[in-house]
C-alpha cells in the first residue's frame, strides 16, 4: 500500500455544486462551502454552478495547481452519475484519480428532503464533512490491467442478438451466437409483415 503523506501536508479542495436549482433550490451551496473551510485539512472550498460542466472541471483543475491540492472533494450528485467524470478531471491535473471523493448531496439529499430545507442543509454539511474525512485517508491507487480475450458471445438469437452479432463480426470480432431453440430468429421470425415498413419479417 502506498505511504500516506503526513497530515501537515494535507491540502484538500472542496467543491459544492449548485446543479442549477437541483441542489441550490433547496440549500445554499455557498454556505456549505464557507462552513467546509473550517474543517481540518481543507485549504480551499467554494461553490460552483455546475461542477460537471467544462467550467466546473476547469476550476477544479486550475485549483489543483494553484492551491497545490492533494485531495479533492466534490459535493454534487451520485457516484453512479459522475465519479468517472471527476476522477478523469483530477487525473488531467496530475492528481491520482483515487484521491477524489464525492458526497451525494443531490439524489440523497436535496431531491429527497425538499420538504425539510433545514434538515437538508445539515445533512449536506455532514455528507461533505464525511467525504472530506474519507479523502483525508485516501491512497493513490493504480488501475489493474487485465488481458482481453478478443471473442464475443451473444446470448439469444432474436433480432436484437442477431444485430449485435452481425455488427461485432463486421468489426472483425469472432462471435458466438447462442440460441436455446433449434432456430435463431426469436419472435420476429414468427411474425407476419412488420411495421413500420410492412415488409416480411425474415
Amino acid at each position: 500500500m502506498a505511504e500516506q503523506k503526513p497530515e501537515d501536508e494535507l491540502r484538500i479542495g472542496v467543491y459544492i455544486c449548485h446543479c442549477g436549482s437541483n441542489i441550490a433550490g433547496v440549500i445554499d451551496p455557498a454556505e456549505v462551502a464557507e462552513w467546509a473551510t473550517h474543517l481540518p485539512g481543507v485549504v480551499r472550498a467554494t461553490d460552483t454552478l455546475y461542477a460537471c460542466a467544462d467550467s466546473g472541471q476547469t476550476l477544479i483543475k486550475e485549483d489543483i495547481k494553484k492551491y497545490n491540492l492533494n485531495r479533492v472533494v466534490v459535493s454534487a450528485c451520485s457516484v453512479r452519475m459522475h465519479e468517472t467524470t471527476f476522477r478523469a478531471a483530477v487525473a488531467e491535473a496530475g492528481l491520482n484519480p483515487f484521491l477524489m471523493e464525492m458526497a451525494n448531496i443531490r439524489e440523497q439529499c436535496t431531491w429527497a428532503h425538499g420538504h425539510d430545507k433545514e434538515g437538508a442543509l445539515k445533512k449536506a454539511k455532514d455528507l461533505t464533512a464525511s467525504a472530506i474525512a474519507k479523502a483525508r485517508f485516501l491512497n493513490p491507487l493504480t488501475m489493474i490491467k487485465v488481458p482481453v480475450t478478443k471473442r464475443a458471445m451473444v446470448i439469444g438469437g432474436g433480432v436484437a442478438g442477431i444485430s449485435a452479432a452481425l455488427d461485432l463480426a463486421d468489426q472483425g470480432i469472432e462471435t458466438i451466437l447462442v440460441e436455446k431453440e433449434p432456430t435463431i430468429g426469436g419472435v420476429m421470425a414468427q411474425l407476419n409483415k412488420t411495421f413500420p415498413t410492412m415488409d416480411c419479417s425474415i
Binding site: R80, A112, G114, M153, S163, V178
Partner: protein
Amino acid sequence: MVDAARHPKIDVRTFTNVERVEGYVGNFKVQLREKARHVLADRCNGCGECSKVCPIEVPNYFEMNLAPRKAAYVAMSQSVPLRYTIDENACIHCYKCVDACGALEAIDFSQEDKLIWEDIGSIVVATGFNHFDPSVIPEYGYSRYPNVITAMEMERLNNSAGPTTGNLIRPSDQKNPQRLAIINCVGSRDKRFNPWCSNFCCMYAIKNAVLLKQMNPTLEISIYYMDIRTPSKGYEEFYDRARGMGIRFIQGRPSLITEDPQTKNLFIHSEDITLGKISELEYDMVMLNQAAVPQPDVDSVSSVLNITQSPGGWFMEYHPKLRPVDSPTDGIFLAGACQGLKDIPSSVSSGLATASRAGRILHSDEWEIEPIIAQVWEDRCVMADGKICGVCARACPYGAIIIEEGKAASVTVAKCHGCGGCVAECPHNAITQMHFTDAQVFSQMRALLAENPQEKIFAFRCHWCSYGGADLAGTSHFDYSANERGIRVMCSARMDPDFIYEAFRLGAGAVLYSGCHPQDCHYITGQKVGATRADRLQKLFEKLEMTPGRFRIEWISAAEGDKYSRVINEMQKVIDAIPHEQLMTEIERLKPEMEKRARRMYETPGMDKAVTYSDAMVKAINTKEVKNGA
C-alpha cells in the same frame, strides 16, 4: 438471419443453453450445454426425409401450437440453421427416420448433451421476452371460446408461411370472419397482472387491421383501446391511415366477452368513452393483444450472469439515461426486449449499441479494472504464526484467497472482485480493502455522527443495490427523513461488525444494514456473507435488550426507491417513539459493551491517525455550529 449464419466470424450455436459464467471483463469463461439433437450437424443436409416418415405428431411451438410438427422436425421451413432435430420426449424409437436418412447417416441416437467451455472477452445478453397467457383473465374466455385468439396466433394465421397459408379462418367452423374485434392492453396496464405498457401492441393492432383490411376490404374491424400509443417516427401517420381505411377505434376496456353457444359468435361488453355509452356488439372473431412478459427463466439467467432485474423482471441497466445498454457488471451488455420492451427498430438499435460498447473492450489489448481489492497485513494474520484459520478464504465468493499452513493468507489480485467480505470476516482484522479501509469508514462515521448522534439513522448501503435504491428514492422524490446519514461500501459483505458496534458506541439513534436481495448480488454470494453476519448481530442486540427496530436489516434493490424511503421513515418513527431520556440511558448502557466489541478495529494500521484526525474534525464541526448559531 441467414446473414448471421453465413458470416465467417459468427459461430451460431442453436439448441444450446448457457450453464455457467465465471471470470470478469475481458476474461470470462462460459460453459455451454449443447443439447443432443440426435442429428449430426455436418451430415444433415436439410432434405427432411426423416420428418416425412416420422409417425409422431406434436404441437409446434413456432406455430403457437396451431399446427403439428413431427418428432423429427424443423420449427419452420426457413430455420437457421436448416438442420433437423429429433424430439427426445416425443420420439417412440421406431427408427423409420434412420432408414429414410439412408446413406447420409446423419441420425445418431447415441448423441448426448455436450458441455463446452469458451473463453470470452465480452457478453451481450439478448434473451427477449415471452407472451402472457390470457386464459387467466376469466372475463375474456380465452381457451374456453374457440374464436377468441391471441395476437401471436393471429400472426401465424394471417401469415402466408403459416398453417393456413395466410387464410384467416375461425377455429370453430373454418369460415372466414366478417366482423373482427381486436382488444388492446390484455394483461398489460392492468394492476391485477402486469402494470406496464407492453410497448408494441398498439402498433401491431393497427398493423394487423391494415393488412387484413387490404386483403379483404369488406371485413369489419374494431379496435378496443384505452389510449393509442404511437410516439415513434411515422407511427401516428400510420394510425391516421388506418382510421382513413374505415377501421373503427372504440375507446374502452371491455369488461366481458360472452359467446353464443350455437353460432360461437362473440359479444363484447364495453364502455365507449367517446360516446359515453355502454355497448354490446357482436363479432365473429376476437383477437387479444396479450401482454409481453419476461422470459420464464429470467431468474436463472440473472443468477448465472450475476445481473440484476428492474421491477417486473427486465434486466437492469447500469444507468437508464447515460448507460442504457450496459449491465452493472463490466463487460456484460443488454440488447433488445430483455432490458425493457422494445419494438424491432429499437431492438436493432440497442443490439447495434451493444456491439459498439463491447467493441471498445474487444479492440483493446488490455482493459483496466478498479483496484479496490483486498490486501492482507501479513504480520497480523495468525496463519503466519502457524495457527489454523482461513476464515477469509471461506467468505470469498471467488476463491481468491490462498491459504497455506505456516504462511499468511494471500489474495490473488486478478481473482479478487473487491466485495470486502474477507475483510469484515477476518477475526483478527488482518485484511483491508483498498478504497474502503477501516480508517476511511471510521473517519466518515465520526464526521456523520459528530452532532446529536441519537437523532440520526445511520445507514450502511451496498454500492450496487441499496445505494442505488437511495438514489432512486431521491430521483423519484420519495421524501424521507433528513436525519438519515449514509455510508457506501461495495457489498453488504464489507459491513464489518466493528462498524455497527462503533456506530452504536458513537450513539447513533438507529442503524440500517442494507444490501441487495440474495439473487441480485453482484458478488455471487457476498450478500449471504453479509446476511449471516447481520442475523448474528440482530440476535446479539436482542440479547442486549436494545429497543427493537434500532438495528434493522433490509434488502433493497436499486429499483426500490419507494422501499428505501419507507424504511427510513419507519426507522424515524422508531426513534421518535422512544422517550429522549430512555434513549440516552440505553445508549449509555450499551456503550461499554460496544466499545469492548469494537476494540480490535482500533488496533489496525492507520487507526491512530484516524482517531486524531476525527477528534479534530468533530471539534471543528461542533464549534463551527455554535459560531453560526444554527
